[in-house]
């Protein structure tokens, strides 16, 4: 139960943070201007708010993240780990190696 509470707090942090991050990204790469340009390129109509492009775009972001983290099956091999699992494994391995190194250094100093 405590774990669930912690997970909810971390999730809230991540949600607010990723909302800010994606807005920063969009401003940084001037995404709105590119979308207006693409809209003009396809339809020939000039508009400052191409919602017809922007709403599917936002939904697409969700699908992209899901696909990357292996939540949607696309008919590939199922036994392969997702990038997150690989990263978790690498992180755990590094932590263990670091702890071992620290322990051996301490032993060397005392002995």
């Amino acid at each position: 139960m405590r774990k669930l509470a912690k997970a909810i707090v971390v999730s809230a942090l991540l949600a607010v943070g990723s909302a800010t991050a994606i807005m920063n990204f969009h401003s940084d790469v001037n995404m709105r201007e590119v979308q207006c340009e693409v809209f003009k390129m396809i339809t020939g109509v000039r508009t400052s708010q191409p919602l017809l492009l922007q709403i599917p775009y936002s939904i697409g972001i969700a699908i992209g993240v899901l696909v990357f983290f292996n939540h949607l099956r696309m008919g590939g091999r199922r036994d392969e780990p997702s990038p997150l699992e690989v990263e978790m494994y690498l992180y755990d391995r590094n932590v263990e190696a670091c702890m071992k190194q620290k322990g051996s250094k301490k032993d060397g100093n005392s002995g």
Partner: protein, 142 residues
């Protein structure tokens, strides 16, 4: 003769510029590992050459289309599918960034919530979608 020489030098300059930009884009894409990820998910690793070709040709023609102010005047229903694919690509890009992949294991380890990773990912997605929707709903400030 002078004008022709200067034109030729502009052509050479533009070509060199494009070569550098294309190389930079290719190395950026290979750092992010989006394409290997998609190939792994769909089990189509042997089509890697096709993916490379598609990316190269599309980048070249898209930049040409932007520079020449091309307009197709297609019906409006062409727009949403393209928007969806644009968003999917950005979603892949945003999750492939090393920061996200490095932060999640640390958070899971620190707070000991390994079994709730799915919740963290859902939270990430909700945040990204609301954030971008909110940005689009704001008026365009030049």
């Amino acid at each position: 003769m002078g004008i022709q020489a200067s034109r030729l030098s502009v052509v050479v300059l533009g070509f060199a510029w494009g070569l550098v930009t294309g190389g930079a884009m290719a190395s950026f894409l290979s750092i992010l590992e989006i394409i290997p990820r998609l190939a792994q998910l769909t089990d189509t690793r042997h089509f890697m050459r096709l993916y490379e070709l598609v990316i190269g040709v599309t980048m070249g023609s898209a930049s040409l289309a932007f520079d020449t102010n091309l307009q197709w005047r297609l019906p409006t229903w062409f727009v949403p599918p393209i928007g969806l694919f644009m968003g999917m690509y950005v979603g892949l890009l945003a999750s492939a960034l090393a920061e996200v992949l490095n932060v999640l294991p640390v958070l899971c380890r620190r707070f000991d919530i390994d079994e709730y990773v799915w919740m963290l990912i859902i939270a990430l997605i909700l945040g990204k979608v609301t954030g971008s929707m909110a940005l689009w709903s704001l008026p365009n400030i030049p």
